[in-house]
């Protein structure tokens, strides 16, 4: 498989709450620190990327946040304007009235129109080689297939017209694994794992984009090996717990209970991990990121995650 960072367009998706935006930001930060001119694009304009990277707000026009790291927020109306300016070469912009409303309208009627503008803008950045790598904080698992397959659906729905001819080169970029890949972020929990496996299957069937990697976030550390676990069980016996408490100067019961919770959580998650590995094509690399037992979030977290990603990517 083509190494992740050798591609030019990475869509990062995942079930809500698994750390999709964190991983997208960390991936972009890591790439930019390794000499790639990187654009990170947030697709829902909520400002999360800016918040995570601790910079001011981002807009449709990319801004350089850190050396070699640019960020933008997707805005479909702005994308449409840019598209019209680049493609129609007629001074229509001022003359088509309430563009946003019209766009809303057409997009509501024909799903795919909005998505194709978004994907079109991203592919455009790739085609024009403005950056070495474009990382997209893409919609969550429920919506990503709709976005990635939009050029195809539009191709099927729209028989003639400019959009039709435009979707051909988009499809070229999207279906080329040397250029485009999908990264699915998950956590080792039941629903995220189920969704990841379902998504992997759907992506293969309904889109032309290659699943480039699965990132497993918040992997818990293993506490004990087997013999250590036996020792732990002994320690949990009343008289030994009391003795340990006496030696350590307090009640050790809560500590052992906490350790048991940690072991159980880890074990449940290990089961889901196994299921995930078995359910995903063996040639798709999985990257494991540790659970962060930290107080902070924001740029420090992103740096830490970027570091872990680097270790997993072998650099």
């Amino acid at each position: 498989m083509i190494p992740l960072l050798d591609r030019r367009l990475l869509f990062v998706t995942g079930k809500g709450g698994v750390g999709k935006t964190t991983v997208a930001a960390a991936l972009a930060l890591f790439a930019s620190e390794h000499g790639r001119r990187t654009l990170v694009c947030e697709s829902d304009a909520r400002g999360d990327i800016a918040a995570y990277l601790e910079t001011g707000p981002t807009g449709f026009h990319a801004r350089e946040l850190l050396p070699d790291l640019w960020a933008m927020s997707m805005d479909t109306e702005a994308a449409l304007r840019e598209y019209l300016r680049l493609n129609l070469r007629i001074p229509v912009i001022g003359r088509i009235g309430p563009l946003a409303k019209a766009l809303d309208f057409v997009a509501t009627a024909a799903p795919g129109v909005r998505e194709v503008l978004i994907v079109g803008k991203l592919c455009y950045e790739v085609r024009e080689r403005h950056y070495d790598l474009v990382v997209v904080d893409a919609p969550a698992t429920g919506h990503i297939v709709g976005q990635l397959s939009a050029p195809q659906s539009i191709n099927e729905l729209v028989k003639v017209g400019l959009i039709r001819s435009q979707t051909d080169w988009m499809l070229d970029i999207l279906s080329d694994p040397a250029r485009t890949g999908l990264v699915v972020v998950t956590t080792p929990e039941e629903m995220p794992v189920n969704e990841t496996m379902e998504l992997a299957a759907r992506v293969g069937e309904e889109t032309t984009v290659e699943l480039a990697s699965v990132v497993v976030n918040r992997v818990l550390p293993e506490l004990f090996g087997r013999t250590e676990e036996e020792i732990f069980e002994q320690l949990c016996r009343k008289e030994l717990t009391a003795e340990l408490g006496r030696l350590a100067g307090g009640d050790a019961g809560a500590l052992l209970e906490a350790a048991r919770l940690a072991v159980t959580l880890r074990r449940t998650r290990a089961g889901h991990l196994e299921r995930l590995r078995a359910g995903i094509d063996a040639k798709v690399p999985m990257l494991y990121l540790p659970f962060l037992f930290t107080r902070f979030h924001g740029l420090r977290t992103i740096r830490q995650v970027a570091h872990s990603l680097g270790e997993e990517l072998g650099s």
């Binding site: 829902d44 017209g161 929990e189 009640d251 809560a254």
Partner: protein, 395 residues
């Protein structure tokens, strides 16, 4: 954290009052926090303890949970969860539990059949390529159809309580605003404007810059597909708008309440708070906040931290002293176990403290605040649902 108030019976960290007094409980919140499971558990415990007929209308349950509720088949039909499933889980139910899954496509088709003025219009709509696209993938249709289906089931009057799980949305507000937006959409002037040239059969698309641009981008065929679709749809306009308004009214009714589910992780909690505020802005009733996967309180005990640090830092010494009292234990291994127990406690303590702090910042106390601890295993059967349900009940 349970907030007590002697005057408010709901504020005892229980959903029991809410489940007993409302006809509809909508469970919402960010994705990945256990929304579906919470909805199912609330319905299960209500059926078991309150009696009557309780329905859980779920959107996207995990397969094992779907199996537990007897929802293997795809489709909209409500199915009763057999009483044996309750007794197998050691519960004698007072009432009956039903479950149904939301099938967007099927619900849309039903809706069209319901509102279409005649069979021909119905068939034309169902066959229109845009309709097929819209009903299958319409981003907002899922949100709307969930509320629409709720309205329909409620109107039938079969159930004493309907607990609704909400679809994961890109934007938390989508489904709240879906009925309103649907009404707006069909009464939009733009819609009428867009289809004028097609309706009057004067395909003079060059007459206005908008049509010109639209035509160049989308092509005439596509535009006329859109127009045809909306001309067909307009025949159902009044029915649709009226229905959307009724759905809206039902959500705002005193018989309906909302539960926001979240975890104490940063992102979900922020979304949860946003949701609570959105409900308030719309004057919808926030009945409870349920916090899932809350770490146990003993992790925040300062004494625990002191001992944990001792275990971590003086593990060797402690192991030496303990070893003689243990069977076949190697000192080095005991040392590792003790150090691991100590540092693991301290690790989790950081998270527990961070989360407690966030919880204390939660604005706007609703009538009930329920926190649910981490369970050892995922909830995927009725027994698990009852365990969770008991927590929600405030046992």
């Amino acid at each position: 954290m349970v907030r007590h108030s002697p005057h408010d019976p709901y504020r005892n960290g229980s959903l029991s009052g809410l489940l007993a007094s409302r006809e509809i409980v909508v469970v919402c919140g960010p994705g990945g926090v256990g929304k579906t499971t919470t909805a199912a558990a609330a319905a299960a415990v209500a059926a078991a303890r309150l009696g009557g007929k309780v329905l859980v209308l779920t959107v996207d349950p995990a397969r094992r949970l779907a199996d537990a509720l007897g929802l293997q088949g795809i489709g909209n039909r409500e199915r009763r969860v057999p009483e044996s499933a309750f007794t197998d889980a050691g519960v004698k139910p007072m009432g009956e539990l039903y479950a149904a899954m939301l099938d967007t496509k099927e619900s849309w088709d039903t809706l069209i059949s319901h509102h279409a003025p005649d069979a021909r219009t119905r068939d034309e709509i169902l066959a229109n390529p845009l309709y097929r696209n819209i009903s299958g993938r319409f981003v907002q249709s899922h949100d709307y159809i969930a509320m629409e289906r709720l309205f329909e089931i409620h109107a039938e009057g079969t159930y004493d309580l309907i607990v609704v799980d909400t679809p994961p949305t890109r934007n938390a507000l989508d489904f709240l605003d879906a009925p309103e937006r649907m009404a707006d959409f069909f009464s939009s002037r733009l819609l009428r404007w867009l289809i004028v040239p097609y309706r009057s059969r004067i395909v003079n698309v060059a007459s206005k810059p908008f049509y010109q641009v639209a035509d160049r981008i989308l092509g005439t065929q596509f535009l006329s597909d859109i127009a045809e679709f909306f001309i067909l749809f307009q025949s159902m306009y009044h029915g649709f708008v009226e229905r959307a308004r009724s759905v809206q009214r039902l959500l705002a009714d005193r018989r309906t309440s909302f539960i926001v589910v979240s975890t104490l992780e940063v992102v979900p909690l922020r979304e949860g708070e946003f949701f609570a505020k959105a409900l308030a802005d719309r004057e919808l009733h926030l009945g409870a906040i349920v916090l899932n996967k809350v770490l146990p309180g003993y992790l925040r005990d300062p004494m625990g931290a002191t001992i944990a640090a001792r275990l971590r830092d003086a593990a060797g010494q402690l192991a030496d002293q303990l070893c003689s009292r243990m069977e076949g234990a190697d000192v080095a291994q005991v040392e590792r176990v003790l150090a691991e127990v100590g540092s693991s406690y301290l690790d989790y303590r950081v998270v527990a403290q961070r989360e407690a702090e966030q919880q204390s910042e939660l604005a706007g106390p609703p009538e009930a605040f329920v926190s649910v601890p981490y369970f050892d295993t995922d909830v995927y059967d009725l027994e698990g649902l009852f365990r969770l349900g008991a927590r929600l009940w405030g046992d």
